[in-house]
C-alpha cells in the first residue's frame, strides 16, 4: 500500500484550553485580590476555595507567577500598614491586647492564603528562589508592624514595664505576655534576641544591681541569701511561664552575677552573720543555701572553702595551744572529736558531702593536730581511758564507732611512731593490772591499727596479748604438776617476752620467805619445760593481795603492789621499823620505796601504816608502825594501783629521746633500700625518697637523714662519687 503523499502523523500533547484573552491575567488577579481582601476582613465564607485555587493554579501555569507573587506582596503590605495604624491607635494597656489580636488574625489569614496559593508555593517559588508564602507573611508582619517606628519602641517598653511590675510584686497577664513573646520567637530568633532579650537582660542587670545594693545595706547574710534565692527562683519560673527556654541560662547568669558574685566577699566576711558565725552556730539551712548559691558562680565554692579552712585552723590552733585544756588529755581529745563531728555533720548536711570540703577539713585537722607535739601521747591516753572504764556497758556497735573515730584522729598524726611507743606503755600497764574493760575492744583496735599501718606496727602489740594467754596456760600447767602447793599462797605469773614489752630497768628486791620459795619452784618448773631461756623477776610491775588483821580485829584484804607487799610482810616479824631498816631488808630503790611508803602511810583512807613524825614527806629517820586504828567501809582495800598518767617532764624527755633513737635505724634501713634499687642517686632525691617512704610512720628531718648518710658512708655502705660531690653510690 503506497501512497503518493506521505501523511505525517504527529501526536500532539494534550493541551489545555488555550487562553486567548489578553486580560486574562488581570481578571484572574483581581479575583484573587478581592479574595485576599475578603479574607482579611473575616469574610471568607462567601468564597469558593476550589475556584480560587484553580485561578491561582492557572496563573502560575500560564507563566503569570511573577504577577501573582508581586501582587500578593503589595496587597499584604497594604493591609499590614492599615493594621499597624490601628494598633498604634490603641491606648495604654490595650496596646498589647490589640497587637495580640491582630497577630492572631494575621496568622489565620496567612494560612488561608497559603492554602489557596499552594501550587505557587510548590512550583514557582522553588524555581525562582523566592521566599515561601508563610515566611513571606511573617517577614512582612515583622517589617511593617513590629519594626514600624511607632510600634517598636512602644512594644519593648511595655514588655519591660510589665516584667518590672511583676518583679515588684504585681500580678500581670502572663498569658498575654506568653503570646507576645511567642510571636517574637516565631518571627525569628534574631528578632526575639534583638527586640526583646538583649534589652531585657540589660534592664534586669540594672534592676538587680540596685536591689542587691539595697539589700546588702540592710540585711544580714542569712536574710540576703534567702532573698537572692527567692529572686533566682522567681526568674526561673518567669522563664518557664512566658520566656524562651534559652533565656533561662542567660537571665540566671545575670542574677548570679549581680546578686552573688559581686558581693561574695562582703557576704562571707559579714560581721555577726557571715560564714564564720554560721559555722559556729551550726546554721545548716543557711549554710546549705550559701553552698547552693555560691556553687553557681565561679570561685564561689573556693571562697567558702578558704574561709572555712582558715577558721578551722584558727580554732584548732587555739585548742591545741590552750594550756587549760591541755591539763586533761582525755578532755582534750574529746574536744577534738567533738569538733570533727561538728564539721562532719556540717559538710554532710549543708555542703552535700562535697569531697573538696572534706579534703579541706582533713588538711586543717592534720595541720593543727601536729602543732602540739604531745598529741600522740594524748590520743593514746584517751584510748587508754576508754579501754579502762569509758567503754563499760557500751554496746558493741558504739564501741566500734568510738574506736573508728580514734583511728580517724590517728590518721592525722604525723608522728605515728611516738603514738606507738605510748600505746605500748599504756597497753602494758592495762594488761598487767588486768584493768581492761573489754578484750574484744582491745583486739578490734589492734586490727584497725594493723589495717592502717601494716603488720610491723602491731606485731609487738599482738605479742603482748599472746604472752598473757601463754602465761595463763603455764600457770595451769604449774599448778597441775604441783598439787601440794594448793594450800599455800597462790602465785600468778605473767611471763613477758622481753622484745615485745616496753622495757624498764628492773632491780629485784628481797621477797619475803614464803613467796621466794614459791618463785623458785616456778622458775625450776618453767626452765624445765623451756630450756635455754632466762627468767628475771620484774618486781616493780607486780601486785599482791594480802589478808590483814588489825588491832581491833578488823579483817581486810589489801590489794597492793609487790614492793608494798614486801614492806608489809616485814611487819609480821616486827612492830616498829625505821626507814633505814625497811630499805635494807627489802632492797627496794629509794625513790620507789619512798613512794610506796607514802601511799601506805600518808593517804587518808589507805593508811595501813602509821608514821612518826606525821609529815607528808618521808625522811631518813622516820619510824613506821602498823596502824591498828585503820578502818575502811570495804572489806577489800586497794592501795597504790599504778595508773597510766600524763608523763612528767623528765619522763617525756626520756621517751622522746628513745623515739629519736629508734628512728635512726629506720632511716638507715630506708636509705639502704632505696640505694640498693637505684644504685646511684643525688642528695636531694635521696631526701625526697626517704621522706616519702617513712611518711606513714613519722616526718623525717632532712638534717637527720644527712647524718645517717654520713654514718653509712663511714661504714662503707655508700660512697660519694669522685667527680660529683652530690652523688651517692651504693656499695654492695
Amino acid at each position: 500500500m503506497s501512497n503518493q503523499k506521505k501523511r505525517n502523523f504527529q501526536i500532539e500533547a494534550f493541551k489545555h484550553r488555550v487562553v486567548v484573552d489578553p486580560k486574562y491575567a488581570e481578571k484572574t488577579w483581581s479575583i484573587l485580590e478581592h479574595a485576599i481582601h475578603e479574607i482579611y476582613n473575616h469574610n471568607a465564607s462567601g468564597l469558593s476555595f476550589e475556584e480560587l485555587y484553580r485561578n491561582a493554579y492557572n496563573m502560575v501555569l500560564h507563566k503569570f507567577g511573577e504577577k501573582l507573587y508581586s501582587g500578593l506582596v503589595a496587597t499584604m503590605t497594604a493591609h499590614l500598614k492599615e493594621i499597624s495604624k490601628s494598633i498604634e491607635a490603641a491606648q495604654g494597656d490595650l496596646f498589647l491586647e490589640e497587637l495580640n489580636r491582630k497577630w492572631n488574625d494575621h496568622n489565620k489569614a496567612l494560612q488561608m492564603i497559603r492554602d489557596i496559593l499552594m501550587y505557587m508555593d510548590r512550583t514557582y517559588i522553588p524555581n525562582t528562589h523566592k521566599t515561601p508564602v508563610h515566611e513571606l507573611g511573617l517577614n512582612l508582619w515583622r517589617d511593617n508592624v513590629i519594626h514600624s517606628s511607632k510600634i517598636q519602641s512602644r512594644l519593648l517598653s511595655m514588655l519591660l514595664e510589665l516584667v518590672h511590675r511583676e518583679r515588684t510584686g504585681e500580678v500581670i497577664d502572663r498569658g498575654l505576655m506568653r503570646n507576645i513573646i511567642k510571636m517574637l520567637m516565631d518571627l525569628g530568633s534574631s528578632v526575639y534576641q534583638e527586640d526583646f532579650e538583649k534589652p531585657f537582660l540589660e534592664v534586669s542587670a540594672e534592676f538587680y544591681m540596685g536591689e542587691s545594693q539595697k539589700f546588702i545595706e540592710c540585711c544580714d547574710c542569712g536574710d540576703y541569701l534567702k532573698k537572692a534565692e527567692l529572686r533566682l527562683n522567681e526568674e526561673i519560673e518567669r522563664v518557664t511561664h512566658y520566656l524562651d527556654v534559652k533565656s533561662e541560662v542567660k537571665i540566671t547568669n545575670v542574677v548570679e552575677k549581680e546578686m552573688i558574685a559581686n558581693h561574695m566577699m562582703r557576704l562571707v566576711h559579714m560581721e555577726n552573720s557571715g560564714l564564720v558565725n554560721m559555722l559556729l552556730d551550726d546554721k545548716y539551712e543557711d549554710l546549705g543555701r550559701m553552698y547552693n548559691l555560691f556553687r553557681r558562680v565561679p570561685n564561689g565554692l573556693s571562697t567558702i572553702r578558704d574561709v572555712m579552712t582558715s577558721h578551722l585552723r584558727e580554732i584548732g590552733k587555739q585548742l591545741v595551744t590552750d594550756a587549760e585544756k591541755l591539763k586533761d588529755p582525755v578532755e582534750f581529745v574529746q574536744r577534738l572529736l567533738d569538733e570533727k563531728d561538728k564539721y562532719d555533720s556540717i559538710i554532710s548536711q549543708a555542703f552535700s558531702n562535697d569531697k573538696t570540703f572534706q579534703n579541706a577539713l582533713n588538711s586543717s585537722f592534720e595541720y593543727f593536730i601536729n602543732l602540739n607535739n604531745r598529741s600522740p601521747e594524748f590520743i593514746s591516753l584517751f584510748v587508754d581511758d576508754k579501754l579502762r572504764k569509758g567503754l563499760k556497758g557500751v554496746s558493741e556497735e558504739d564501741v566500734e564507732i568510738i574506736l573508728d573515730k580514734v583511728m580517724m584522729l590517728f590518721r592525722y598524726l604525723q608522728e605515728k611512731d611516738v603514738f606507738e611507743k605510748y600505746y605500748k606503755q599504756h597497753l602494758a600497764k592495762r594488761l598487767l593490772s588486768g584493768k581492761t574493760v573489754s578484750d574484744d575492744a582491745e583486739r578490734s583496735l589492734i586490727v584497725k591499727l594493723k589495717t592502717e599501718c601494716g603488720y610491723q606496727f602491731t606485731s609487738k602489740l599482738e605479742g603482748m596479748f599472746t604472752d598473757m594467754k601463754t602465761s595463763q596456760d603455764t600457770m595451769q600447767g604449774f599448778y597441775a604438776s604441783h598439787p601440794e602447793l594448793t594450800d599455800g599462797p597462790t602465785l600468778v605469773v605473767q611471763v613477758l617476752t622481753t622484745g615485745s614489752w616496753p622495757t624498764q630497768p628492773s632491780i629485784t628486791c628481797n621477797l619475803p620467805a614464803e613467796t621466794s620459795a614459791l618463785c623458785e619452784k616456778f622458775r625450776s618448773y618453767y626452765l624445765g619445760t623451756h630450756t635455754g631461756r632466762r627468767l628475771s623477776w620484774q618486781t616493780n610491775m607486780g601486785t599482791a593481795d594480802i589478808k590483814a588483821t588489825f588491832g581491833k580485829g578488823q579483817k581486810h584484804e589489801l590489794n597492793v603492789s609487790t614492793y608494798q607487799m614486801c614492806v608489809l610482810m616485814l611487819f609480821n616479824n616486827a612492830d616498829r621499823l625505821s626507814y633505814k631498816e625497811v630499805e635494807q631488808a627489802t632492797g627496794i630503790p629509794a625513790s620507789d620505796l619512798k613512794r610506796c611508803l607514802q601511799s601506805m602511810a600518808c593517804v587518808k583512807g589507805k593508811n595501813v601504816l602509821r608514821k612518826e613524825p606525821m609529815s607528808k614527806d618521808i625522811g631518813e629517820d622516820d619510824a613506821f608502825f602498823v596502824n591498828d586504828k585503820f578502818t575502811s567501809k570495804f572489806y577489800k582495800v586497794k592501795i597504790g594501783t599504778v595508773v597510766a598518767q600524763k608523763e612528767s617532764e623528765p619522763e617525756k624527755q626520756e621517751t622522746r629521746q628513745r623515739v629519736e633513737e629508734d628512728r635512726k635505724p629506720q632511716i638507715e634501713a630506708a636509705i639502704v633500700r632505696i640505694m640498693k634499687s637505684r644504685r646511684v642517686l643525688d642528695h636531694n632525691n635521696i631526701i625526697a625518697e626517704v621522706t616519702k617512704q617513712l611518711q606513714s610512720r613519722f616526718l623525717a628531718n632532712p638534717t637527720e637523714i644527712k647524718k645517717r648518710i654520713e654514718s653509712l658512708i663511714e661504714r662503707d655502705f655508700l660512697e660519694r662519687d669522685n667527680n660529683d660531690r652530690k652523688l651517692y653510690r651504693y656499695l654492695a
Binding site: S45, S48, F49, D115
Partner: protein, 73 residues
C-alpha cells in the same frame, strides 16, 4: 444507610460523587481545602465543585482515592 463522614464531589456536568472523608484526604489539595482555618464555602457545605473536571475523570479520581487508601498505607 449509615451516615459516616462523607464529602460530596461534583463534576462539571453535575454528577455527584459521595466519598468518605478518609479517601478524599488522600489529595493534599482537598485536604487543605477542608482543613483551612478560614470559613470557606466548601467547608460549611461539605461539598466541592469542580467546574473544569468531567464526570468520567472525576470517577477515575475517586477510584484512585480508594485504591490509594487500600494499598498505600
Amino acid at each position: 444507610m449509615k451516615r459516616k463522614d462523607t464529602v460530596k464531589l461534583i463534576s462539571a456536568d453535575e454528577m455527584e460523587f459521595v466519598i468518605d472523608k478518609d479517601a478524599v484526604m488522600v489529595s493534599q489539595t482537598i485536604r487543605n481545602l477542608l482543613t483551612s482555618p478560614g470559613g470557606f464555602a466548601e467547608t460549611k457545605l461539605g461539598e466541592v465543585t469542580f467546574p473544569e473536571i468531567s464526570a468520567v475523570i472525576l470517577e477515575r479520581i475517586c477510584q484512585y482515592f480508594y485504591w490509594a487508601l487500600q494499598y498505600s498505607r
